[in-house]
Amino acid sequence: MRREMQPRLSQLRHYGLAVLLVLLAHALVLALDPYLPYPFLLPFFGAVMVGGWLGGLGPGLFAVLLSTLVVDYYFIPPLHTFSISVHDLPYFAAFVISALLAGWLSSARRSAEEALRLARDRLEDRVMERTSELQRTNDALRAEISDRKRAEDALRTTQAELAHVTRAMTMGEIVASIAHEINQPLVGVLTNGDACLRWLDGESVNLDEARDAARRIVRDGNRAREVMAQVRALLKKTDPRKALLDVHRVIEDVLSVVQDEVRRHGISLRFEPALNLPPVMADRVQLQQVLLNLILNGIEAMGSAPAQPRILRIRTHDYEEGEVLIAVDDSGVGVSSRDMDHIFTAFFTTKADGLGMGLSISRSIVEAHGGRLWAISDPGHGATFQFTLPVTFAERPREDA
């Protein structure tokens, strides 16, 4: 492209160059003439070739024309005329043909090289163009990847927040709903049971009435069993959606959610992740729920503890063969040995507004994952709640890939 930009005007300079070259050749021939027995015409070929090379076909042929005229005028007898004797014609023709060939070859060669260079330059241009295009695409791709990553992070944090909010609410609602469904047949069983006993006891024994009441008891028992079957079906529907998870990432997500609470309670938070912890096969949301529950318990335990350094520590370890251990240490009130026997029992709570479901549910979740959840406490100095999760070596795609 750059070459085509050159003005046509330079063509004129090439014709001038052709004239100059022929003059130079003439001068050289004249200078050598006294020393040689016949006119030495080779410099003209040189002029033609150089003219053709530098200027292309036009200037080359122009050099041929000039050389022919000069040679005819000065060197072909009769000298100093443009006429040619028949005797000299073959010689002259040979000269002209040779000059023409030299000029044509030289210029053709030159233009071929020129075309080649042009092609190379164009290729370079295109390569550069494509390279920068690729660069742009790459940048766009990279931006997209980081966007997606951000979106994924946001999603996981939102999930953790959701787990936080719905923890107490859904639990309360589910418990209330199941309690109502179970209460109806229970009232029936108790009322009919009482009636049945009254018909069997006392002075007015009536076996027909007692039998009817007993039948109703059985019917209500079956109703209760149906409710339980429905509850079980519901639990089945919410079977854990397991995937290979990076435990540390799940912990970080939960920590990002409880940050405010930690700050508000003046607690210093320490996360001590183990190196090279293998991924676990678990349900992300359930794992978040367990962690959230243990961490919030720890925070509350320290909130009611007398002034002492408030430290919440989350550790992970490559535990026993094929297990990872996640531990939550707090420096709170600890658990008395009397309470220790009950803390994992449903509806047991030491908190004023607690439901007594958190640890019970956490333990069920961990056990459903094939792990164990237990507590160690030094009453008055804090407690450690820790659980294990089995490491699965299944060939499954990682969710966090």
């Binding site: 229970l186 018909w199 109703r223």
Partner: protein
């Protein structure tokens, strides 16, 4: 007292609970009738006996509390024992203000329910006694002549005979005569008793 056999009405949408309560009530030798909804209860004929209503708060359609208000609107004063799965304080307060005798949370103990039914039936009996007395007093009042009724109004308003005579345009002796008739027909032994009877009949000075 030769009163009719009392009757217990049970309104609960749960058949098993309904039948269980009915069985319990029968076991203490009380008559019982059961209904699955408020509408069923309202469209049934009620015998003229002391009665109480064992009523589930949470009924499909017309709720227990709505039924309670509907009965009041019709001037039916049947004592109610409420049953509920979950008692919140405002609901309980409202029901008790509107005349519920008891509020039991399911599941309840059998004795709790039977005691509540007993209390409700006693209340029903005393209500009926009072109404019967009032009826008797009304009947007696109806036996008075218009002039005697006017004299009674003056007497219970605390007016002297002379004043009553002047108002009615008659003699004091005639008033005295009417007054004696009133005391006799209303079976009042004294003036204070006549005043109490007038209060119950809501009779005031006719002028």
């Amino acid at each position: 007292m030769s009163e009719a056999q009392p009757m217990v009405f049970v309104v609960d949408d749960d058949q098993s609970v309904r039948e269980g309560i009915a069985s319990l009530v029968r076991s203490v030798h009380l008559d019982v009738r059961t209904f699955g909804s408020a509408q069923e209860f309202l469209s049934a004929r009620h015998p003229d006996t002391p009665a109480c209503l064992v009523l589930d708060v949470r009924l499909p359609g017309t709720s227990g509390l709505e039924l309670q208000r509907g009965l009041q609107g019709r001037g039916i004063t049947i004592p109610i024992v409420f049953l509920t799965g979950y008692a919140d304080v405002p609901m309980t307060v409202r029901a008790m203000k509107d005349g519920a005798t008891d509020f039991l949370i399911k599941p309840f103990r059998d004795q709790e329910l039977l005691d509540a039914i007993q209390r409700a039936l006693e209340r029903s009996s005393s209500q009926r006694r009072q109404e019967a007395e009032l009826d008797k007093l009304r009947q007696r009042f109806d036996t008075l002549t218009p002039r005697e009724q006017q004299v009674m109004g003056g007497v219970v308003a605390g007016l002297p005979n002379k004043k009553i005579a002047a108002e009615l345009g008659t003699s004091e002796a005639t008033v005295k005569l009417h007054r004696g008739q009133v005391m006799q027909k209303m079976r009042a032994a004294s003036l204070p008793e006549l005043v109490r009877i007038a209060e119950r009949l809501a009779i005031s000075n006719p002028w």
